[in-house]
């Protein structure tokens, strides 16, 4: 049973997605079905992570006599599609399944009055399938296929409220951006397949030569994944998509964005680290993109008055921290002394920020969804005095805002502290940008807090009440995680983050399919 976990984690939400339309006439039933499926998938991901942390890399070969039969007798190359799950993949799988569960729970009330809910939940589960496939696969073409699944289902979710023109426009934009990125990924995969005759990531990584065609493939893969994770100046689709998707779809869409960030890290560390004479070149590109992303993202956020759009620009800005942290590690990857001194910690800081950001940004987008749910507007100019009416949403917002601003003792502080220190060791200017970004982030959330929650109570919101319980529970879960991850960062780092960082650094393990061949 345990050896089939990598297949089950995809099969369960896939079954859930295709069965969801059967509940067409039972809106509550389809919501409960989605919560159940995402809950089971979350448990499977926890089991899978435990297996990976205990046994090391897990390989699952589809269609083989045994799931671990990488090279059938007589073959010197892998011929079947396989999943290769290391600590980094498992870490991303937990993020994906947790956020899909929380998103489904929140959606129970948030989209209850919408029509076509069976389609909504079907797409939500398909998005989860796409993300999980992307982070678990060990096959480049498979990565493209799952990227397409996530892109198409994500675009349909963004345009779910099709009666709003803006939602349809945002959905189409996301679809086109996803299609262009996927096309470039497919082209790069074709270049590599033409050269090496194989699609297995570990096989290509082991055999890859230093050639111009390889580097063109690397450049295209790098840029495509950077665009899909919202790096500046290719971030324009993010505010549209994050603003228009129903708030329950925000957490999985956020993880879908970071599945592309995962792919960027995987390609840079695992696939190309051997061939580039000076990998620090790629590291510096990542660092510069990171600095641009966090600074331009936050300054754009500061001037927004649409609460979800403001938070979307913050999502862009926070991606910059991740690129900065992991980029610092990539820059010194081939310098053992610097890698031990601060490179490993920088990668860990960047990855820790991924999960921290997924948690608090999902929480903040949900509080924005709660504001929209009760006021019917996202315009901060039309809000005010809601703290008295929505105390739990207010406290959840305060925790999320403190966490994203890097205030201790919440989770954002722990990861930002590591990023500040390690980026300082590479170049102090980087830390200045990171800290200024944090200050502007706090300023921006003070603006949201003051205009939406504080101030005199407005007459038009006299009869407003706190949002329904499922929405509150989803927000409370994430707020609690912000506090727990902030109070016990060492446990999270030791159990989840450092193994994931080591998986990126010790790429030879991945190249040998966890020692199986």
């Amino acid at each position: 049973m345990m050896e089939h976990l990598p297949a089950l984690i995809i099969a369960i939400p896939l079954l859930g997605a295709f069965a969801a339309p059967l509940f067409k006439r039972h809106h509550k039933a389809v919501s409960i079905w989605a919560i159940l499926i995402t809950g089971i998938t979350l448990i499977v991901s926890l089991l899978l992570t435990r297996e990976v942390l205990v046994k090391g890399i897990l390989v699952y070969v589809f269609g083989a006599k045994s799931p671990t039969l990488v090279l059938p007798s007589g073959y010197k190359v892998p011929i079947r599609i396989m999943f290769e799950v290391d600590a980094l993949g498992a870490f991303m799988a937990i993020s994906a399944t947790l956020m899909s569960f929380v998103g489904a729970l929140y959606s129970y009330s948030h989209v209850a009055h919408e029509s076509g809910l069976e389609k909504y939940y079907s797409l939500l589960l398909l998005l989860e399938v796409g993300i999980l496939g992307m982070v678990l696969t060990g096959d480049l073409f498979n990565l493209f296929v799952f990227m397409e699944i996530a892109g198409i289902s994500g675009a349909a979710l963004v345009g779910f409220r099709s009666y709003r023109g803006e939602a349809s426009e945002a959905g189409i934009k996301y679809l086109i951006i996803s299609a262009v990125a996927s096309l470039m990924v497919l082209f790069s995969v074709a270049l590599l397949y033409g050269e090496y005759g194989n699609l297995n990531l570990a096989y290509i990584a082991k055999n890859i030569k230093f050639g111009v065609v390889d580097l063109i493939a690397f450049g295209l893969l790098f840029t495509s994944f950077a665009m899909k994770c919202g790096a500046v100046p290719m971030h324009y689709w993010v505010p549209d998509a994050y603003t228009e998707i129903p708030a329950g779809g925000n957490p999985p869409l956020l993880v879908a964005t970071y599945a592309n960030l995962y792919a960027l890290f995987r390609v840079s560390f695992t696939l190309f680290t051997n061939i580039v004479i000076n990998i620090s070149r790629a590291g510096w590109i990542m660092v510069i993109l990171g600095v641009l992303t966090m600074f331009i993202g936050v300054t754009m956020a500061l001037v927004q008055k649409d609460v979800k759009r403001l938070m979307s620009y913050h999502a862009i800005s926070q991606t910059g921290y991740m690129l900065l942290g992991v980029g610092v590690g990539l820059t010194v990857l081939h310098d053992p002394s610097k890698l031990m001194e601060f490179g490993r910690d920088a990668i860990a800081g960047g990855l820790f920020h991924v999960i921290n950001h997924i948690i608090y940004k999902s929480l903040l987008l949900m509080t924005a969804g709660a504001l929209f749910y009760v006021t019917g507007t996202r315009n901060l100019d039309n809000m005010g005095g809601l703290a008295r009416k929505m105390p739990i949403t207010t406290i959840s917002f305060m925790i999320g805002a403190a966490a994203i601003s890097g205030l201790p003792p919440f989770n954002g502080f722990a990861s930002k502290l590591i990023i500040y220190e390690t980026s300082y060791m590479l170049n102090p200017i980087l830390t200045v940008f990171a800290m200024v970004t944090s200050i502007l982030t706090l300023a921006s959330f003070v603006k949201v807090f003051a205009s939406a929650f504080l101030g005199p109570p407005l007459k038009k919101y006299e009869n407003v009440k706190e949002v329904p319980k499922p929405m509150l529970i989803a927000m409370i879960i994430l707020a609690a995680l912000c506090v727990i991850f902030g109070l016990f960062p060492k446990i999270i780092l030791d159990k989840l983050i450092y193994p994931a960082a080591d998986a990126l650094i010790n790429y030879l393990q991945y190249h040998s399919w966890g020692g199986l061949a």
């Binding site: 450049g219 790098f222 665009m227 300054t299 001037v303 100019d381 603006k447 205009s451």
Partner: protein
Amino acid sequence: MNPMTLRTPSGYWNPIIWVIFLILFGLVAYLIYKAGNPKYRRDTDQVKPFLSGNLETDKEKIQVRASDIYWGFIEALKEYYGVLERMHTGDIRDYILWFVGMAAIITVILIGGI
């Protein structure tokens, strides 16, 4: 205590001091709130602001709106925001152009052209 201590390359961080500080701060704030002003009477004229004898303006009219916050900051950085505004056209063709441009730059750097 150990599970709470985060070791970083240059030192360590332990949130326990902050937690103690927050609890103490909350306690002091609560005590001050609880002590209150014994002469305070809710819903009487004494809670109304004194505006030199003028009537109080409708609260919705004097509310500080989100657009007004950081006006000075945005005004001071008008040129910077002008550039950003021109970049954010909302046109999907421009999105793709940025992508193509970045792909070209990144690929050239990786190949070693720069």
